[in-house]
């Protein structure tokens, strides 16, 4: 029962699927929600508050037999810009990539403008990302900007 075994538990390998690594600890469950993992029947390993050399504490998700389209996975970039996506087949890493901020954001962010129709009626939010570096989203409906500092997730 040494250090080694404990380490192995943390990173226990999956045969086929996707690993999402380097998720900021505070965003881990937002990522779970954004990707609708509650509805998934696949085996999921969730690691929270793990030590990370780069980020202090991190979260990790391992999803057996689950593969994402890039536009699907990029949705998490808003809450976890540091995340790394690792695609695994037969225990081998076949692809490793970072998430990128998408051009459009659907449903996951709330519009900052209280008088926006999306905050008054049952209307799903939709934004165009007008500034990826500073994360500024323009509402498709009220045309106002929701910026990083006043962004809340649905």
């Amino acid at each position: 029962m040494t250090k080694m075994l404990r380490r192995e538990l943390k990173v226990s390998a999956i045969e086929n699927g996707t690993v999402i690594d380097h998720i900021p600890s505070k965003s881990l469950f937002q990522v779970v929600r954004i990707l609708n993992l509650e509805d998934l029947d696949n085996q999921i390993l969730i690691g929270a508050n793990l030590d990370s050399q780069k980020y202090g504490k991190k979260g990790i998700l391992k999803l057996s037999n689950k593969f994402f389209k890039s536009e699907e996975i990029n949705k998490i970039a808003l809450v976890a810009p540091t995340a790394t996506i690792i695609v695994i087949k037969d225990f081998h890493i076949i692809e490793k990539s970072n998430v990128t901020i998408p051009d459009e954001v659907f449903r996951i962010v709330k519009c900052f403008n209280p008088n926006c129709i999306t905050n008054q009626e049952k209307v799903k939010t939709r934004f165009t990302v007008v500034d990826k570096r500073n994360l500024r989203l323009q509402c498709h409906y009220c045309e106002r900007i929701t910026a990083k500092d006043n962004m809340t997730f649905i």
Binding site: E121, Y141, I145
Partner: protein, 301 residues
């Protein structure tokens, strides 16, 4: 352009704007054309705006179309909690086009997505009011005989004035030079300025009203509202600094015209009304021609 809604002035390309203004010119020559005799237009004003409503209803009437509207009892069904979506879907089965004004920003865009008929936005909260913009463009076009290469001076509340924002964005198609006159607190916001910068157009900012007057082809005046100021003392300081008077207009370009989206409070002194430069009362009639053109174009008749 058949079956296309108009929600925001940026939905229209430069060509579409020009084509629409040409059509408006035809309606000015011949205002009564009964081409909408077989059409029913619904005017849904979820908040009152008599001026805009009358203009649309007059435009529809001159085209021979029928108008259906809310009565008070219908508005109350909305107050009872019917969703905007349900109201719009219902009205779609009664009408061929919806003209809508609503206090919430983004309501018109949403309505156009759930409606099976075209929607014209007649104002959604503080967001857009594209037909006001089209009538401003038509007034400029008519008085200057062109839209290209003009010097447009805008005065007053450039921060919150939505007519100013739409007009700036639309005029960016036409190589405009902008002269922006406002108190420091009410400068044109960056989100609008970005359109000017994207097109590499010139703009100048002033806090004093008189400096740009000799350069202007158009002076576009707006109200400064007290509630826009967090500090009432600041409002008292600036409220009388942005009033256009007849004596300011001694050095001007020969065809210069003064526009104002109306209603005016005191920002244009009454001695300007008698001058040939005063064009703000003529703008209302232009609004009817532009709305006729828009209705006809959208319905494809």
């Amino acid at each position: 352009m058949k079956s296309k809604s108009l929600i925001s002035i940026s939905d229209f390309s430069k060509e579409e704007i020009l084509q629409l203004l040409d059509r408006a010119k035809e309606f000015e020559k011949e205002p009564i054309q009964r081409i909408l005799e077989n059409y029913v237009i619904a005017t849904l004003f979820f908040e009152p705006s008599t001026r805009t409503r009358l203009s649309f209803e007059s435009a529809v009437s001159r085209l021979g179309g029928k108008i259906i509207s809310f009565t008070d009892s219908m508005t109350s069904s909305v107050q009872k909690g019917e969703s905007l979506k349900d109201t719009i879907k219902t009205v779609c089965s009664y009408s061929d086009l919806i003209v809508m004004r609503h206090p919430r920003e983004g309501s018109a865009r949403f309505a156009s997505e759930v409606a099976s008929v075209p929607v014209i936005n007649a104002g959604d909260g503080a967001n857009q009011h594209p037909t006001q913009c089209l009538l401003d463009l038509y007034s400029i076009f008519k008085t200057q005989k062109r839209l290209d290469d003009l010097n447009i001076m805008m005065v007053g509340d450039l921060k919150y004035g939505r007519t100013v924002h739409s007009l700036v964005i639309a005029m960016c198609h036409f190589n405009t030079t902008f002269h922006l006159v406002s108190p420091t607190e009410l400068k044109l916001p960056g989100s609008v300025k970005v359109h000017i910068k994207d097109k590499n157009l010139k703009y100048y900012q002033y806090t004093d009203i008189v400096e740009a007057i000799p350069k202007a082809d158009i002076i576009y005046m707006t109200r400064i509202q007290k509630e826009r100021f967090s500090d009432p003392i600041e409002y008292e300081k600036v409220k009388n600094s942005y009033i256009l008077t007849a004596e300011m207009l001694y050095t001007i370009k020969p065809d210069m015209k003064v526009l104002h989206p109306l209603p005016r409070i005191n920002e244009i002194s009454e001695d300007v009304d008698e001058l040939p430069q005063a064009y703000y009362f003529n703008q209302a009639i232009n609004g009817i021609y532009v709305r006729q053109a828009l209705l006809a174009n959208i319905l494809g008749v």
